[in-house]
């Protein structure tokens, strides 16, 4: 038997250690640091339908099945058969336990109409029945549900009170760990003030409705001799019984892994040092509607399962079938992972229950399914109630996942028009890696850009990348940065085309220039040739004229000679000529 031993001290010095009996109720033993006081009575009180009986019955069943402590269930309001039927929905088989002598049920029925009181009496009959039942199975635990019913059966209140006091002493003397349920009273914890007899441990259960959403809460009002959290903690009753959301967020001492886990998008891994997220870290993708958050989540789920790890995928907006269908369009087949059992997809309506309940469910699933990765899509849908509560609750969840070394992946929807870096749930400070997907509206179209806003413990990329959803998954491509603007989508394509055209034009121009130059050269060459030819011609002419000159000179010379000769002849023949 496992009991926690807690030392306590009061004015008179150190007292013996208080032993505790584990209830086996999920989460309860943590908040009370060990369970209810062993061998003493505990009161569980609350209004109608708050789960008192469930708590008490589970205390017995867990005691009988897990701690080998048989128990006696004394019911005052329901018959044994009714009780067995009622708790069967929680998976408790009381009849089987009775048959195995692990449990003894006794229905104490009081019918005031058939009772006439004459003279003095006591409730020894109750003691005898209890003693008999305890002896039959060697019980260590007792539940009285609801003891206060005796007050309606008998008129002598003074005697009843004395008898109840005696009963509690009797139970203590026998070292029976007892849970007594009691109805909440007006201004008192219990209708008949039972708490004045049971002062060791008082647990208050509450069932509250806020904004039409009901939440069950539990509070340890009193726990004599033990430290306990006095906070209200949410709890849940479902087919596995009672579970209390443990408050693990008291300490920040979880381990930090240096293992990396791929995001499922190669380009994104590249931005995160080429390795992806840290295992056990919390990742958030925030963005406006339709920015591709879920697709990133699906990639991560796909990658996780493909590497043989387990993934819990909690959906708040789509049914699993719808998500699987939609993700097929970007080339992700989640169905096969669901079939192989590595992927567990659950979908709840966010309005189905309060935040605590959702978180408790996630918590329980995580405990049971033991995933490596938990995806919540989108976490912002958990926003029911006031922000402080939401913050505290999400902190608990993140903390829980971290202590379990589960990588958490949240998507967060930011409303258009708000500051993008402010998430509605204000959990950004709890997040290790924060990816921001944002829309860039330009030239009549909307394109997605992604960047790593922060990523603790790694030298992440500072790039803004364009986020493309193709039928082969997500691609992150560097955006066009130049000319003082960031261009995406068709603007980027247009810019690229323009650049290409310009390039071509430039080349063409160069070609033309070259050609023109060539032409010019050729023209000049031709000119030179022409000039040369001209020159040659001139030279020729000059030579010719020189020749002619020479010939003329020669001629002149010869002519002169001739003339001289002729003149001489004329002188000779003067008379002849005139």
């Amino acid at each position: 038997m496992a009991t926690a031993k807690i030392k306590y001290r009061n004015g008179s010095g150190t007292l013996p250690q208080l032993q505790k009996a584990r209830t086996g109720i999920a989460g309860f033993d943590e908040i009370t640091r060990g369970g209810v006081p062993k061998g003493r009575p505990t009161i569980v009180c609350g209004g109608p339908g708050c789960g008192k009986t469930m708590f008490a019955v589970e205390f017995l069943v867990r005691g009988a099945t897990q701690f080998n402590e048989p128990g006696v269930l004394l019911t005052f309001e329901e018959t044994a058969a009714e009780m067995a039927k009622n708790v069967a929905s929680l998976g408790f088989d009381l009849e089987d336990l009775s048959a195995r002598k692990k449990l003894m049920m006794d229905y104490v029925h009081i019918e005031p109409a058939e009772i006439q009181e004459t003279g003095s009496y006591d409730l020894e009959g109750l003691f005898i029945r209890l003693q008999y039942a305890v002896d039959r199975i060697g019980a260590k635990r007792v539940v009285l549900d609801t003891l206060e019913a005796v007050f309606s059966g008998f008129s002598n209140q003074g005697l009843l009170r004395a008898e109840i006091r005696r009963l509690f002493c009797w139970l203590k003397d026998r070292g029976l760990t007892t849970v007594v349920t009691a109805e909440r009273g007006e201004g008192t914890l219990t209708r008949h003030g039972l708490e004045e007899y049971v002062s060791d441990c008082v647990i208050f259960l509450d069932h509250r409705v806020t904004d039409q959403v009901s939440t069950r809460r539990m509070r340890v009002i009193k726990y004599r001799g033990s430290s306990h959290g006095a906070d209200e903690v949410p709890f849940l009753i479902d087919e596995q019984g009672f579970s209390v959301l443990p408050s693990t967020s008291m300490q920040l001492n979880h381990e930090a892994s240096t293992d990396r886990i791929s995001s499922g998008v190669k380009d994104l891994d590249e931005m995160l040092e080429g390795k992806g997220y840290f295992r056990g870290s919390s990742v958030m993708v925030s963005g406006t509607a339709g920015s591709g958050k879920s697709s990133l989540a699906a990639h991560f789920a796909d990658q996780t399962c493909a590497s043989g790890k387990r993934c819990l995928y909690v959906l708040f907006e789509e049914s699993p079938a719808q998500a699987i269908r939609n993700m097929r369009s970007i080339g992700i087949n989640l169905a096969k992972h669901v079939k192989s059992g590595l992927l567990r997809m659950v979908a709840w309506r966010p309005t189905q229950s309060g935040l605590e309940m959702h978180l408790l469910r996630i918590y329980k699933l995580a405990e049971h399914f033991k995933p490596d990765v938990v995806i919540i899509d989108p976490v912002t849908n958990l926003m029911v109630g006031n922000t402080h509560e939401v913050h505290a609750m999400l902190m608990r969840l993140i903390d829980f996942l971290k202590t379990k070394q589960i990588t958490a992946f949240f998507t967060a929807l930011t409303q258009g028009g708000k500051a993008l870096e402010q998430t509605d749930v204000r959990i950004s400070s709890l997040i290790d890696t924060w990816l921001l997907v944002r829309d860039v509206e330009l030239n009549g179209e909307r394109n997605r850009c992604i960047y790593v806003l922060k990523s603790r413990g790694m030298a992440h990329s500072n790039q803004v990348r364009e986020f493309l959803m193709t039928n082969k998954g997500i691609k992150l491509i560097p955006v066009y940065v130049g000319g003082g603007t960031v261009l995406t989508g068709s603007a980027r394509l247009g810019q690229q085309a323009r650049e290409k055209a310009e390039e071509i034009a430039r080349q063409q121009e160069a070609n033309e220039q070259r050609k023109a130059l060539e032409g010019k050269r050729k023209a000049l060459e031709a000119k030179v040739a022409a000039l040369q030819a001209e020159y040659a011609e001139e030279e020729g002419l000059r030579a010719q004229s020189a020749e002619r000159e020479r010939q003329r000179d020669e001629k002149l010379a010869s002519d002169a000679v001739e003339m001289t000769r002729l003149r001489r002849s004329t002188q000779l023949g003067e008379g002849q000529g005139a």
Binding site: D106, V108, H109, I110, E111, E114, I115, Q116, E117, T118, G119, S120, Y121, D122, L123, E124, G125, L126, I128, R129, Q131, Y132, V150, G153, F154
Partner: protein, 113 residues
């Protein structure tokens, strides 16, 4: 003195066949003053008012605790009128004769007719 156990305490005094039979069970727990007083008072009442038409079992729950369940005994002592139906229960030491008779819903022998 002493409370008789169930078997030994069986007192059967039926004289008149056609009179309505009153079947009584007295549950006690050991020899406590209350139990003893109840038994003494009951015997007196039976003798004076029910003579000849009653059947009485005295059950000591200390010896046979399993019997407490059947008649839903809580208070000790409890006198149960099993017959005629409906079942009536009278708790206490039966010191108040009037209330016992009212509780048993029987007419006294003397005032029968």
């Amino acid at each position: 003195m002493g409370v008789k156990t169930k078997k030994a305490a069986s007192v059967k005094k039926v004289k008149n066949g056609d009179a309505e039979l009153i079947e009584l069970r007295l549950y006690v727990a050991g020899q406590t003053p209350k139990s003893l007083a109840a038994l003494a008072n009951l015997k007196k009442i039976c003798h004076h008012h029910l003579e000849g038409r009653y059947k009485l079992h005295v059950i000591d729950l200390v010896k046979t605790p399993q019997l407490a369940r059947g008649d839903q005994i809580l208070a000790i002592p409890t006198l149960v009128r099993k017959l005629p139906v409906p079942i009536r229960k009278i708790i206490g030491d039966l010191s108040d004769l009037e209330r016992v008779l009212v509780g048993l819903n029987v007419r006294e022998n003397g005032s029968d007719k």
